[in-house]
Amino acid sequence: MLSRVAENLYWYGRYMERAEDLGRMVNVNAHLMLDLPRRLAAGWAPLVRITGSQALFDELYEEADERQVVRFLLADPRHPGSVLSCLASARENLLAARDMVPREVWEQTNDLYLLAREQLSGHLAKRRRHDFIDDMIRRCQQLIGMLSDSMSHDHAWDFILLGRYHERADMTTRILDVRSAHLLRGVDEIQPFDQLQWMSVLKSLTGYQMYRRHVRLRVNGADVLRFLLGHPLFPRSVCFCLAALGERLQTLPRHQAALDAVGRIQQRIDRMDAEALVRGGLSRFVDELQVELIGLGETITQTWFQAESGNY
């Protein structure tokens, strides 16, 4: 397979996942705002920090209130990380590689972009916003289902999944970082809403229900960390994503460097001391994971997308 096509498919996977994750995040935040007492709710500003686009936001908007943050994250074409921009990028990437996927996948991806462009223009009433996000998430899930069940699980498939799980691991670490920041500061004091707030971290990743099934304990910081970073069965945990990445990488030629990079991240998570991290140092730990994840991206790019040597 041509490197260019592989790269298009990888980014298709990443952008689709990013759009879906952003949608989930906005919906969950809206719920959290309703659940938490006003003085504890962090408002909408953390969402901008999670996506790492604070500078651009400050340049384009005055205030981090719900309306402006939501517009920035969902509908602003000037923001390359908005849902609308992600869906446009996903479409562009797939367009260039559409011979590799079933025709319906291309058509649905195209439809999804057109729907977003239509729905996200003009004023975004809360109810309409909610309906759109639910619809979009459902369509993203449909697409991955269609891919999984109608496409050969060949290298083209491998690259889509590499993008998908790489993006998801990245997003999970970002959410964990920002969401837990203000929780950890007052860890020694008795916090009446401690449990509620750690629940909110889980909910940001739609992991609360699964956490309850797997952990069956009162929600506490260290367990949440262990669950979101290290649980082997929860599909949004970093550990699960790494395993999925490793599985795809195994099937690709010349995979050793990338596999090693995945292994290094896995080792960090295996060796982490969750209790200690809750007491302090989580932010630095997540930063280190992020650096490793970026490194993995570079290795993937160098190995498969920018070949300068090979079989003569």
């Binding site: 490197s3 011979d99 498969w304 300068e308 040597s309 003569y312």
Partner: protein
Amino acid sequence: MNRKHANDLDWHYRSDFHDELIGPRGGPRQAARRLWKYLRGLDRNELLERRDACEIAALVAGITFRVYHDEGSADRAMPFDLIPRVIPLGEWQRISAGLEQRVTALNLFIDDLYHEQKVVRDGVFPSEILAGSANFRSQCVGVRPRYGVWAHICGSDLVRDADGTMYVLEDNLRVPSGVSYMLENRQVMKKVFPELFEDIDIQPVDDYPARLLDMLAGLSPRPADDPTVVVLTPGMFNSAYFEHAWLAQQMGVELVEGRDLVVDDSDCVFMRTIEGLQRVDVIYRRIDDAFLDPEVFREDSVLGAPGLMRAWKAGKVALANAPGAGVADDKVVYSYLPEIIRYYLDQDALVPNVPTWRCSIRSELDHVLANIDQLVVKPANESGGYGMLIGPHASRKERERFKRLVKADPRNYIAQPTLAISTCPTLVPGGMGPRHVDLRPFILSGQEQYVTTGGLTRVAMRAGSLVVNSSQGGGSKDTWIVDVDGAGGS
């Protein structure tokens, strides 16, 4: 005779031109007899049903071409007419031989131009015409492509005049397109009219991709190994991208863009794959010379790959068509074809040229200016029907404008009589109507030659229109080469 019924079609088909299916007395020509009988047995609903089936089949096959507008691009289905054009096998064999003769002569001519230029020294082809050629590439002088072949894939446009004579209108030696439609049209017809294919001896067309791949593989500079052939496309925004992708898929080779290719210091060409760099032996390029290699031609080109010309000249990669082949894809060169065939092959042209006046010659220029209202005037280097004047249909103002254009740059113009181009019955709202058609066969040249069985019949869907180009609303038909008496003769 059936009684007239609301659902019956009006079969009073009449054309004021030579018609491909219907003879002068209103009955079908011999090769079309069975087809016509079958069609007449259908009522309106049955015919419309088959038309819908054709449309659906075309859609499913993904026969599209790309249309550009501000909102992005869209793939449109190329209009397809379900009534085929029929040519008797005997006639086709003569045409086919004529096409082989033409392309053989053209390749000898191109090879000569880039070497000794004997044809110029012997006074057959004027040096000032060569000097003014927009498509002569000095960078190609002295290069020796395998078998001396430069134009590996040629698409020649044929039309039939009032008296039934088939003429070659032009030879496309750069990046002729349309062959994918020819093959897909046949697939659609076989699905919709299987009974006709059982009944009539229609020659198959589907070996083209295999022939193309064989020809291309035969150009490999490493013939002992299993050569790597690729199709080079300008990218998905090109109007013929569907065909590029289709051909690559049919041949089972990679469809690459310029940025997928690298040329190393030893002048070898590689493509970037997930396995690493992979050597490329033969490139079927579907981008124009000018964009092929920014090291040599347009520096601003991002479509080609730097170093391709180096690699080609060093004999490390084969390019089809060869750079510079377009020198013979010029309407002034075209006018010299009869002389060129005589010069290199010592033969008369088997398929005639349309009589052509060359504005570069004073007496002929005068004739053109005086009779511009009866002539078709064409620029030498345009394709796709752009920039030409159809005298009888043009306004006085347009004619005067063209006279000025021609006088300012006579080398760049030729003129031809307005032909009474033949028609073929075509399904139109309200029944069957005559529509003008042309024919584009494809000729492959490598170690040996191959001519497609028939070609792509293009049809002007508007009544009276002569413009058959897909970019300007033309459609297409299946083309049947029919063995009338089962013996291969006429």
